[in-house]
């Protein structure tokens, strides 16, 4: 299945923009976290509402999901979901450079999510001459049902989502999380327009 019905050129272009954004974001993260960050080329896939809902329900019980809205010029908008497994949250405070006990696990997860989302999307936006604004990240109450419910109740009608799987590996420390960008159909059309313009200029 092609991503968002993009043609081969458009798809390559999107993958390239995301790769570059990922690279720069991880570079910034490494500096900020003051440790070596290794990451694989992000896998990008298209998921529809039903299959995403299903795949989240099949996951372990107590996943944490953080949601953060983003919006930029030219109608590019959506919602980022950061999905964590419980075992990933053990040493986040340490990684983020906070003192033990200084912030709760929830706050750590939210903080990290915001950092992952905004660093990635900031670079992504600048790649396409755009600029993003963000809503405050929210921890969706733990538990699978609430996540599936959330997906069904999203304020916009989204048909497809871009699932960017990021695996961060940090020296002496490892965690995985999936970043899922939910993008409404109208915004997908807008992204295509932007991609076409980039391809034209190229």
């Amino acid at each position: 299945m092609t991503t968002f019905n993009l043609n081969a050129d458009q798809q390559d272009c999107l993958q390239e923009i995301i790769n570059v954004a990922m690279g720069q974001a991880s570079d910034q993260l490494a500096r900020y976290l003051d440790t070596f960050v290794y990451l694989k080329v992000p896998s990008i896939e298209q998921v529809n509402a039903q299959s995403l809902s299903n795949s989240l329900s099949q996951d372990q019980q107590s996943i944490a999901v953080v949601s953060q809205g983003f919006f930029g010029y030219e109608g590019i908008r959506g919602e980022a979901l950061l999905v964590y497994q419980p075992q990933d949250s053990d040493r986040l405070a340490d990684l983020l450079g906070y003192e033990p006990g200084e912030l709760s696990v929830e706050e750590q997860i939210i903080d990290l999510s915001s950092i992952l989302t905004t660093t990635f999307l900031n670079v992504f936006a600048s790649q396409i001459d755009n600029q993003m604004s963000y809503s405050a990240p929210r921890l969706l109450s733990a538990g699978v049902s609430s996540v599936s419910e959330h997906l069904q109740q999203l304020s916009f009608n989204w048909d497809m989502a871009l699932k960017v799987k990021i695996s961060y590996q940090v020296t002496d420390y490892s965690f995985n999380c999936d970043m899922i960008l939910l993008i409404p159909e109208s915004a997908i059309t807008n992204i295509k327009t932007v991609i076409d313009r980039i391809l034209d200029e190229y």
Binding site: R31, E99, D111, S114, I115, T118, N122, Y134
Partner: protein, 319 residues
């Protein structure tokens, strides 16, 4: 009117705190919202250190937060749900909410001057209302959840919730090879009580029996109203003999109970069936039906007694 005056007029009318600091944590600017809520004159704040103006701020945390905004050039957030507030400010609903300090959603924004971040803008939103309604909602949901589990008359677990508990305890006992016992008891001649003294009397007796039985149980026992005048108790980690002891305590307690209704002394008794999980029981319903059979036996043998369910049912005679 110049754009600057225009902007500052608007910023001063905002119902949101706007605070600009430099990277040495000195206050560069703030709006009227903050001036009013802190009750400080600008000359006592502008140019002063943020942490001396707001000594309540968690300094190390705050510095780390600002460092992330500067380094990553991206906004950072702090929600009342994780931290109720950062700045110790009063709010506008001190009478109608129980909160003393303004609940806040805070945004840290990087402000670039010619491509370099030299300032951080901190937006402070008053979300006391949201926080208040959210806690009211949570309280209501808790009450609803409780109401959904409780029998309205006797205030013990209702049948539905009790049965869910049994299903859980049963499968746990089976998985780990532990004991779980079940006591089911029924008030003797309850219909006669209702017919003679009326349903209000019957209700009173049910409430008192529930209260008494609950007081004779251990903390981990799960007590519910199974239906009408029938009650049921799950006893985790308890063998048949242990459950029989509890049942006997309850039978004696009920027998001794003397209640008054409209100046008449009411006494009652209970027939009790006791069962323990057996290796061939695959479903929790098996346990119910064993206890129920024992209960039926206790009735058949003349009431006010306990019958134990086993390969051969044995009965403790009224003593």
């Amino acid at each position: 009117m110049s754009v600057d005056t225009f902007c500052s007029a608007i910023i001063n009318q905002l119902n949101t705190g706007v605070l600009v600091i430099d990277l040495d944590f000195n206050i560069v600017k703030w709006n009227r919202f903050l001036e009013i809520h802190t009750n400080k004159k600008p000359e006592n704040a502008i140019g002063k250190c943020l942490f001396s103006t707001f000594p309540e701020l968690p300094q190390k945390w705050f510095e780390r937060k600002v460092a992330s905004v500067v380094q990553l050039k991206s906004p950072s957030f702090c929600s009342w749900e994780q931290r109720h507030h950062l700045f110790n400010l009063p709010h506008t609903r001190p009478i109608t909410t129980d909160s003393k300090v303004m609940a806040q959603n805070i945004t840290f924004l990087p402000i670039e001057t010619q491509g370099v971040i030299e300032h951080i803008c901190i937006l402070i939103e008053d979300v006391t209302d949201v926080c208040h309604y959210q806690s009211m909602l949570r309280q209501t949901l808790d009450e609803l959840a409780l109401a959904n589990r409780i029998d309205g008359l006797t205030q013990i677990f209702n049948r539905k919730h009790w049965e869910e508990c049994l299903a859980k305890e049963f499968s746990r006992a089976r998985r780990y090879g532990h004991d779980v016992s079940l006591i089911m008891f029924d008030l003797d001649h309850f219909k006669r009580l209702n017919d003679t003294y009326g349903h209000q009397c019957g209700d009173m007796v049910l409430m008192e029996i529930a209260k008494l039985s609950q007081s004779l149980l251990r903390l981990c026992d799960i007590f519910g109203r199974y239906g009408g005048e029938e009650f049921a108790i799950i006893l985790p980690e308890t063998d048949l003999a242990g459950a029989a002891d509890v049942a006997e305590r309850i039978r004696k307690g009920i027998g001794k109970l003397s209640l008054t209704f409209q100046d008449k002394v009411i006494t009652t008794s209970a027939s009790i069936g006791v069962a323990v999980i057996e290796s061939h029981n695959n479903r929790y319903e098996d346990l119910i039906s064993n206890a129920d059979t024992a209960l039926y036996q206790a009735k058949a043998l003349g009431r006010d007694r306990i019958c134990l369910s086993q390969q051969q049912t044995e009965c403790i005679e009224l003593g």
